[in-house]
């Protein structure tokens, strides 16, 4: 028996693929059906799809079913192209049961990773009982929608670059009074932590600082110099430790500007005791090795000290050296990296001509990224490095200086 209706072919795989959100820690399926492309245009060619998805043949085949047509290099596979732009449904909390404030740092106008983590923590508290997350920061809330912000309070743009913590604290206190949020979360960063403590002191409330784990009934933090875990039910004021919560992914919230009865600039009336704040130019070579982020280090293989100094300047890196270099007086003793010098934990360590004595490697165990230039392929430093270049430091250094200067002029 035939039906007069045109019967669409159902491609369960394509439908499923369209509903799959692949970003985030693990694939998630959207619950509501997604408008899939008409799938009946062409017949599937399983072999072609398979070929297009193949990204690696050896040692065993690996397939990437999420690849788009462009990167696949071959004809677009039906159903796969659609999955690449999953539409994340907007989550609207129209009538929040309560508010959770997230006071963000937003240093230099950018939403920092720590800010996202604070919003994620705030979501944990808000989602537990139908609450809404209100972000408070300079700038508009658009960028915060995908981080999980329901409402946004924009602080005056002029506040972004100023350091007037008293004004911010007054604004936070004003918001606390007008919105009566259930919780206020701050990043436990230098500025955010400072603000939180000012607000807590002014409000006479207990601050639960540096939250490490959070649930609707219990928050924990480190105390006694990191040796104890202290638990309590979530207090009103909390700061969120860095890297304790994963920022949200694959969500979209409104980040709707919040209508306020009173403008937050009420804080402008506070007469600040702190003034004339200005950034100081920092000479990277004046920084202590334990504080700096980027170290340019020289070992016995460096003979061209002129280039080394120029390179340090061009890179804006703090110069350091191995024991031998400091012994020889090319660098002062406090610039020595290693077990007998300073144990460093910079983000990047660029090592020229360092063989990698055990004592030196002990000194850089905390470094995240190591780049090594050495003439000896079998040097320990080459094994330790994330990028190793077997070459003479005296040739690479001038080339790198030239390259940096060229790029800077572009």
């Amino acid at each position: 028996m035939t039906s007069p209706q045109i019967r669409h072919r159902v491609d369960p795989r394509a439908e499923r693929a369209a509903r799959t959100i692949l970003t985030g820690q693990r694939p998630r399926l959207l619950r509501q059906p997604v408008a899939t492309a008409t799938v009946n245009e062409r017949r599937r060619d399983p072999r072609a799809i398979r070929d297009a998805a193949l990204v690696q043949r050896q040692p065993r085949p690996r397939y990437d079913w999420a690849r788009d047509a462009a990167s696949a290099g071959t004809t677009a596979a039906v159903g796969v192209a659609v999955a690449n732009a999953p539409v994340i449904p907007l989550q609207v909390i129209a009538e929040p049961a309560y508010l959770v404030l997230a006071m963000l740092d937003r240093p230099g106008g950018e939403v920092s990773e720590h800010d996202r983590q604070v919003i994620a923590a705030a979501r944990l508290l808000a989602d537990a009982g139908g609450g809404a997350v209100v972000t408070v920061a300079t700038g508009s809330g658009e960028a915060l929608a995908e981080a999980g912000s329901d409402r946004h309070v924009a602080l005056p743009d002029g506040w972004a670059d100023d350091y007037v913590p008293e004004r911010r604290a007054a604004a936070a206190a004003a918001l606390m009074a007008s919105l009566s949020p259930r919780h206020i979360l701050f990043p436990d960063s230098p500025d955010g932590g400072d603000l939180a403590r000012r607000v807590a002191a002014a409000a006479g409330e207990r601050l639960f600082a540096g939250v490490q784990s959070l649930g609707p009934d219990r928050a924990t933090r480190q105390s006694a110099g990191g040796s104890l875990e202290t638990g309590h039910r979530p207090t009103r004021l909390m700061t969120v430790a860095a890297d304790a919560f994963a920022p949200l992914d694959g969500v979209r919230h409104e980040a709707r500007p919040l209508d306020l009865a009173t403008p937050v600039v009420a804080g402008e009336e506070v007469l600040p005791r702190l003034g004339c704040a200005r950034r100081l130019a920092v000479d990277p070579d004046a920084l202590s090795l334990s504080e700096t982020d980027f170290i340019l280090s020289a070992g016995n293989g460096v003979t061209d000290w002129q280039s080394f100094a120029e390179l340090g300047e061009a890179l804006g890196a703090t110069r350091a050296g191995s024991r031998v270099v400091c012994d020889a007086g090319h660098l002062p003793r406090e610039r020595q990296v290693g077990a007998s010098g300073t144990v460093v934990s910079a983000r990047c360590y660029l090592a020229f001509g360092i063989a990698g004595a055990p004592q030196h490697l002990q000194g850089i165990t905390g470094v995240k990224h190591v780049i090594a230039i050495n003439t000896d392929l079998h040097a320990e430093m080459i094994k330790r490095a994330d990028l190793s270049i077997v070459a003479d430091a005296q040739e690479i250094m001038p080339a790198l200086i030239r390259l940096i200067r060229e790029r800077r002029h572009d």
């Binding site: 004339c276 490095a385 270049i389 077997v390």
Partner: protein, 265 residues
């Protein structure tokens, strides 16, 4: 700030705790605060600790830095020291109060300096690395120039008016060594103080801290293979290796790598 204004300095000292051995010691940033205070050569320098009398011996490490005496506000175990400190400081009326940024033992919430600033109606500046009288030409009475440490070695200069509470950053000048002789001779003056028990802290439950697995930064986007690689590849010894490239190629590889790491713009 004129000499007269800088002449009365108080330092709040807590008992530290070595992160590995857990043994009592001088707290690192408190010792740096005392160092900063000693370097200012104030006319009057008062060092204060509030806590149980039983812990007093650990305070001798501060005396060994060259203090002759140290005031101990004797509190019962588990009491909140803030009120006692505020009462005592009101009486002393210092123009500058220095202390470490966070205690190494106890709640270590970093709130104490803020509560004291509130109690004394003083300005508070955290993470100070340098402090001195304002050198601006219009320097008036009661102004101080400070330098504050920011992340990644950045520095910010500030001018503060009026009474000031400053917490000291680990990048401040290192504390001088504590010497045995002065530590033994120094005098700890116990002063009885009133304090209420800290109810919040007794309401909390405590247990030993166990390190948590570090939060992985999941790289978003990219192909499945990239994500698989990012999640499974171990970092050490799996670096990229260039053997005898030309100087230009080597430099370019370093440059690109630095850009990728976000070190260079």
């Amino acid at each position: 700030m004129t000499d007269a204004a800088m002449g009365n300095v108080a330092v709040l000292l807590s008992i530290g705790r070595h992160p590995v051995s857990g043994r009592s010691r001088r707290a690192a940033t408190d010792a740096q605060a005392l160092e900063m205070a000693l370097a200012l050569r104030p006319r009057r320098l008062t060092a204060i600790h509030a806590g149980p009398a039983a812990d007093a011996e650990a305070l001798r490490a501060y005396l060994g830095m060259g203090l002759e005496r140290l005031t101990l506000l004797v509190l019962p175990e588990g009491a909140d020291p803030v009120e006692a400190l505020i009462t005592h400081l009101r009486h002393l009326a210092p123009s500058l109060v220095l202390t470490g940024r966070q205690a190494e033992d106890g709640e270590s919430s970093g709130m104490l300096p803020y509560l004291i600033a509130r109690g004394l109606d003083a300005a508070i500046v955290p993470d100070v690395v340098r402090i001195g009288p304002a050198d601006t030409p219009d320097a008036t009475y009661g102004k101080a120039d400070l330098v504050q440490a920011l992340p990644r070695g950045q520095r910010r200069a500030l001018t503060v008016t009026g009474r000031l509470i400053a917490t000291v950053h680990p990048s401040a000048p290192p504390a001088r060594a504590s010497a045995f002789g002065p530590a033994r001779r120094g005098v700890i003056e116990p002063v009885a103080a009133q304090a209420a028990a800290d109810l919040f802290l007794s309401d909390c439950e405590h247990r030993p801290w166990r390190p948590k697995p570090k939060l992985m930064r999941v790289k978003r986007g990219g192909s499945a293979l990239d994500r698989l690689k990012a999640a499974t590849e171990s970092k050490s010894g799996k670096g990229q290796l260039l053997i005898n490239p030309t100087a230009e190629a080597g430099a370019l590889a370093i440059y690109d790598n630095l850009v990728e790491q976000g070190i260079l713009p």
